[in-house]
Amino acid sequence: MNAVEGLLHGLQSAITPTNLLWLLVGCLLGTLVGILPGLGPPATIAILLPLATGFAPATGLIMMAGIYYGAKYGGSTTSILLNIPGESSSVVTCIDGYEMAKQGRAGKALGIAAIGSFVAGTLGVIGLTFLAPAAADVAVNFGPPEYSALMVFALLLVIMLAGDSMLKGFIAMFIGLFLSTIGTDLFSGAQRFTGDQIELAGGIEFIALSVGIFAVGEVLINIEDKTEKQLFQVPNKIRDLLPSRQDIKKSTPAMLQGGIVGFLIGILPGAGSTVASFVSYIIAKKTSKTPEEFGKGSIEGVAAPEAANNSETGGAMVPLLTMGIPGSGTGAVLLGALVLYGLNPGPLLFHEHADVVWPIIASMYLGNIALLVMNLPMVPLFAKLLNTPYKVLYPAILLISVVGVYSVNFSIFDVGMLVVFGLLGYVMRKLDIPPAPLVLAFVLGPIAENAIRQSLLLSNNSPIIYLERPISATLIGLAVALLLVLAFGRGRKVRDQVVEIDA
């Protein structure tokens, strides 16, 4: 069965009333859960796994795919409205999405996130349908040296989110990397900087760190001025709440680029949607006609990461279905579900269980449509939430943050960490230190460290291994070029930033 035949067969199987019903239920649940910080897609799918295993394999997996997609979209809602990233992949959306909300353009940001998710999610699924076998071959060649090189490159890209001061961006990045080393060292079992706190053995909880730095830090900045006026202005007309044709036209290149980048990065196990979203953001900034708007409420700055975040889902299915390699926590739970159904992911899955695999892929197309239909009418409703007086909104944000962080591990310690990181986020803003590089470096740090140490183990501590393999050599070359551009490129501009703007 070729891809087109398989897809048509899959669509035929997916479009049954039962499957469509559970697809809609999955999308709705996923969106609701995505809005709440803390309860991410892996937790929701895991909670619903016993329920889903009662269905036929195709139906259960279709519902889980709906949750996966829905949660990704839902995550953007709180990022845009409240600056609360429910997941690491939503961090980049906060940068411009929240700025747009502050300018009274929350509806446009939410709308473009929905449209971008639809366009790129569809691109990702098309990629999954037609490129899965070829893409899987490339992914197989990604060993520790390639990952190390990719992470070094990604970390250098993080600096581009630094804003005016590169020096402060580097400081934030290194603090984030250092924080990511706290916990048990996976290679030796040694405890690093845990202070004998058992709660820190697994490392600092990401949600506590990101919600503290972004949401609590932002609240503390916003309440400095005791003003009676609303923090955000929300237009009254529904037409003004949705993206205009011009907005969509402006964002189309970012959406398409995000879709492609997200899919390609999604194929790499471990790289994940966080890397996809911010690489796509950087590319959008570099290729935009109005790069100066990025960080200040650029609609492309929302479209690109949201597109990449959703298209990554299609990419992540490639190693999962073709090799049984889960690229993320959600992938691992989905893998568990496949195994529970008696399906062994691998190259033969497409041949032996075509009746299950193709309906799942087909349902991803349908899930994208369902999400767009469900979410666009909700945009004005969500945006109107910002009409709430800030005096009511900020205690609500603080309480949601507490609940969200607590619900991840049911840990009061994590709530304490939220409070500490809230203060750190506030201090960073007061001192004009950008928080995004810290949070992204915190996510990338463990992947980078593992890959670097594995590579050095493989090569008997010889760094030459990075140059001996073509993919890693290319990535290292790109990283060096990027470093040179940052240091010497564009004439004096960058050096001026380091030496003078910092000063």
Partner: protein, 195 residues
């Protein structure tokens, strides 16, 4: 000011002199700007030194508590922390240096930080309210700790008089409890004091 004290009150002052005097005298706004610039510069120099000192302390901990190399000479658990803390020290010192000797910092042309004591005080008050709430969650449970946070906001921080706003705020914790604990079955802390 000194000139005014020296000058006799009956002495006529030509208009040009007065204009020159005004131009030479710094306006209050200029004074504020200079003060902010000096404060920003000082804060950044201290910040750089604090980062460097923190980095040095963490480097010491990494070197003394964690092995830099494993048994087969592979990178050990202290490998990355040592490299990272060295970079942090260097970056902290660089930050201090550019704010001490950087041309814009010396000329006072660098962007200034907004460090108003009233604003910071208000933010810290909210942070303290959150801290109190976090401390009370375990013994009192989410509902009571949430109400403490809300009451602190109503009474101490915002001094809200509007009854609808007060009711809306007081209903926040039970509404969240209903949504998370009852509907979504995310078990929130009930309070060790009561159970």
């Amino acid at each position: 000011m000194e000139q005014e004290i020296v000058r006799r009150p009956d002495e006529d002052t030509p208009d040009e002199d007065a204009a020159e005097e005004l131009a030479a005298e710094p306006s209050p706004a200029d004074g504020d700007q200079n003060r902010d610039a000096r404060l920003t510069r000082r804060v950044h120099v201290v910040l750089g030194l604090v980062i460097a000192a923190l980095g040095a302390w963490l480097l010491y901990k990494s070197r003394t508590e964690l092995e830099f190399r494993g048994p087969n000479n592979e990178p050990g658990p202290g490998y990355l922390p040592v490299l990272l803390t060295i970079c942090l020290i260097a970056l902290g010192l660089a930050l201090s240096a550019v704010w001490l000797w950087g041309p814009k910092a010396r000329r006072g042309e660098a962007p200034t930080l907004s460090l108003s004591p009233q604003g910071i005080g208000r933010a810290l008050l909210v942070w303290l309210a959150l801290l109190v709430c976090a401390f009370l969650i375990e013994p009192l449970g989410f509902l009571a700790a949430g109400e403490v946070l809300v009451v602190l906001v109503i009474v101490v921080i915002e001094r809200i008089r509007s009854i609808p706003l007060i009711i809306a705020l007081l209903l926040l914790p039970p509404a969240m409890y209903l949504l998370f604990d009852t509907l979504l079955e995310v078990q929130l802390p009930g309070g060790t004091l009561w159970y």
